[in-house]
Amino acid sequence: MSQRFPLPDVGEGLTEAEIVEWRVAVGDTVAVNQVLVEIETAKSLVELPSPFAGTVVALLVAEGDTVDVGTPIIEVSSDAAAAPVVEPSPVVEPAETAPVETASSDSGSVLVGYGTADAGATGRRRRRRGTPPAAAPVAEPAPPGERGATAPDPGAISVPAANGNGAAAQGRVLAKPPVRKLAKELGVDLASVTPTGPGGIVTREDLVAHAEAAKARTLGNYPADPSDPSDDAPDADQPWLATGSVSPDGRRTRVPVKSVRKRTAEAMVASAFSAPHVTVFHTVDVTKTMKLIAALKADREFSDVRVTPLLIAMKAVLLAINRHPEINASWDDAAQEIVYKHYVNLGIAAATPRGLVVPNIKDAHRLDLLHLARALADLTATARAGRTTPAAMSDGTFTITNVGVFGIDTGTPILNPGEAGILAFGVIRETPWVHHGKIKPRWVTNLSLSFDHRLVDGELGSRFLADVARVLEDPARALAWA
């Protein structure tokens, strides 16, 4: 017997969630309460424990999909013989190894959530008034013949389809059994096909035309090799296309905006169009900083940490903030107040596999160089592992973006919302430079500082950047200012 697990509402009144990571694969044996999948809701990342014991028959939704509450996400076959002991999850305590659920309902109905609501009504009956109460029977069982499909399953569309497309909104898609079978083989969700048959039936021609149009094609300028017929699946080396849909002519892919990308966009729009940005630039000879780095690398005390130009730049920023604390502040538009922070939570922009994150080092102003280096290493490792917490990203007071690692000289960074300054640290190049009256090869970099002109004026921004530069030009300056 196989059972389906419909996506529950894990908060109070959430309507959808994004599938972040499957922890099981088809063919795996799972125990009751073993973690199946990590999902991300509007509120948090949540792990879902299995309600069943058995063998995974199908994962019905893909990582990256945003799925409506009530949509079946996994199918598990509860064959008693196929359920040996599985290491229970540390989150939800020991799981039963025996399949205790064999007697339970096959419908997989969820108690909480949005169920089928109006979608179950095909329009045969009109409601007497208003919107019907959202009670309604939930996710009906799929017909046996359609079990085990990995493609989006026509049997599941009495639940409001994840895409909210028109066909699903009208209810069940009409099609003859051979067409349904073909749709399953082609991996096409019938609800996405435009029907032309009598009474809105999806015909074989409709289906074939849809499948043809949706096929990804190799273009002349596509990175894939057009002469290689096996290389028609660009998703493998182009992960950003994986969740998109290809246009009928194959020349464009539309990818829904979500999670980190969405939050980045919102933050950048909020910042760019509320804080008037001014950017100032400074080119500086950092040869002495490079010598300091070489010396620190040889220092036994620093043997277990990475000493980099970024680390010295962070220290320089902290010293400059100490001399110009007014820049370490935030504009509270609602209260019409400027909030001056007496601590520095130093943000470092980090490119991660999931996108841009800006975790910050809490109370960085209290840290000496060695502890700053350790904090930077921790922050970087956590970000790379994709484990940066919301708390680590909140309450930043100043940010550094290290564009130099990409070989770039400088830029005009956009402020992290709620902060008044952001420093872009450029690449360090060996450059002909006038030094003591002669042209010498020197290590030179560019610094740029964007600031919020509502609370920081040109004078303050310029003096601040000049002070950062003075420390990098002559790190001994730190002795005078520390």
């Binding site: 939800v92 305590e93 109905s109 909480v112 009670a135 029977p137 069940r172």
Partner: protein
């Protein structure tokens, strides 16, 4: 980080390593646990383990769509089980919404406790059967109810009779956030001036959802009792023996007609506020780790081991009981089915009402139509 300074002056009998502490301050309380034997301590351990297993299973069921919401008691088992063990059968309990350990000890069936969280019922059990009121989700209302009930007990002549089977007290449970509600003030004023047999049992679990206790009080909560003329004690809430002892003292006072007591049990909510909450947004891993090392169950297990009261066969039995409980919760919670929709119309008015009757009929018709639609689709598939 951990409020180490806040822990100064906590009444403690069992320290975090599981060792017994002997100080002049706790001498009177040590006397109150002197009559406890190995079986009593093992019973406390078993109740704490079962409470946690209930907690974990209910959390999993919420993640599986079987419960609308759940509030974990994880970390607060000692405060709840210790205080509940001190109760006499005739004493009465007013819980908040997280007192699963107290209700477990009072014998309220685990499935009945989950009916509210499934949206099945507004209550779940008969309070008179267990002398345990229903879960209360409105913050602080139960504190007033408890004091009113205690004043009723007093007027029934069930206080100060000297008969241990007759004298009755009322214990009310609430949290640090609730102390900021006006209800708590009113209840403490009435309890104090009337010498009501109320035991105010505050579980200070450090967080009112995302607000730290620093946002509720500038002094230890227990210090507030003095302002009402209510004897107060601040106890290590992760020490089951100390929680038992202070509750017993408070009950003795209430039974004898000595009036209310205010107990602050200093503990920690190890889980989220509810299944809708994400504590990583407002507290650090270091803090959680600090309290994980102060787990109340580990502490009692260490004592049982050191005193030779730990028995492997017995412990395996407890673990098996916990698993059996989890299996029963899984099965029987699902068997509750969908919440009955007709019930929501039944108790709106005491007498029949035309509008409600019309709405009930419409709902019934709607549900029938939905069933018809499903059948139609099945037939025309």
């Amino acid at each position: 980080m951990a409020p180490v300074a806040d822990e100064q002056g906590l009444l403690q009998i069992l320290d975090p390593s599981g060792a017994l502490v002997e100080t002049p301050e706790n001498a009177a309380y040590r006397a109150r646990i002197a009559h406890l034997g190995a079986d009593d301590r093992r019973a406390m351990y078993r109740d704490m383990v079962l409470t946690r297993r209930f907690d974990d299973e209910a959390t999993a069921l919420q993640r599986q769509g079987e419960l609308a919401l759940f509030a974990q008691a994880r970390g607060q088992e000692a405060a709840q089980v210790g205080s509940a063990h001190a109760l006499a059968p005739q004493d009465y309990v007013f819980p908040s919404y997280r007192e699963h350990g107290v209700l477990h000890v009072r014998g309220v069936d685990p499935i009945d406790r989950l009916r509210l969280f499934r949206g099945q019922d507004h209550g779940g059990w008969d309070p008179a059967e267990h002398n345990a009121q229903l879960y209360t989700l409105v913050l602080g209302s139960q504190v007033l109810h408890a004091t009113g009930y205690a004043m009723g007990v007093q007027r029934d002549g069930l206080v100060g009779t000297g008969d241990p089977d007759k004298d009755t007290a009322v214990v009310v449970y609430f949290g640090d956030g609730t102390t900021s509600q006006g209800d708590v003030h009113e209840a403490m004023v009435f309890a104090s001036v009337n010498d009501a047999p109320t035991v105010f049992f505050l579980q200070n679990n450090q967080w009112a959802i995302s607000e730290p206790t620093a946002r509720q009080a500038k002094v230890p909560f227990a210090a507030r009792g003095a302002g009402y003329g209510i004897p107060s004690v601040r106890v290590d809430g992760n020490d089951v023996l100390a929680c038992y002892a202070v509750t017993l003292e408070a009950l003795e006072r209430a039974h004898a007609g000595g009036g209310p007591t205010f107990i602050e049990a200093f503990t920690y909510r190890m889980g989220a506020h509810t299944t809708s909450d994400d504590p990583t947004r407002y507290r650090t891993r270091e803090e959680e780790e600090y309290w994980r090392r102060r787990d109340p169950i580990d502490r009692l297990a260490a004592l049982l081991t050191a005193s030779g009261e730990w028995d492997e066969a017995w412990a395996a039995g407890v673990a098996a009981d916990a698993e059996a409980l989890a299996a029963r919760i899984r099965t029987q919670t699902r068997e509750l089915g969908a919440p009955p929709t007709a019930a929501m119309f039944e108790h709106v008015y005491a007498t029949p009402h035309a509008t409600v009757a019309e709405e009930a009929a419409w709902q019934a018709e709607y549900e029938n139509a939905a069933a018809d639609n499903a059948a139609y689709e099945e037939a025309t598939r």
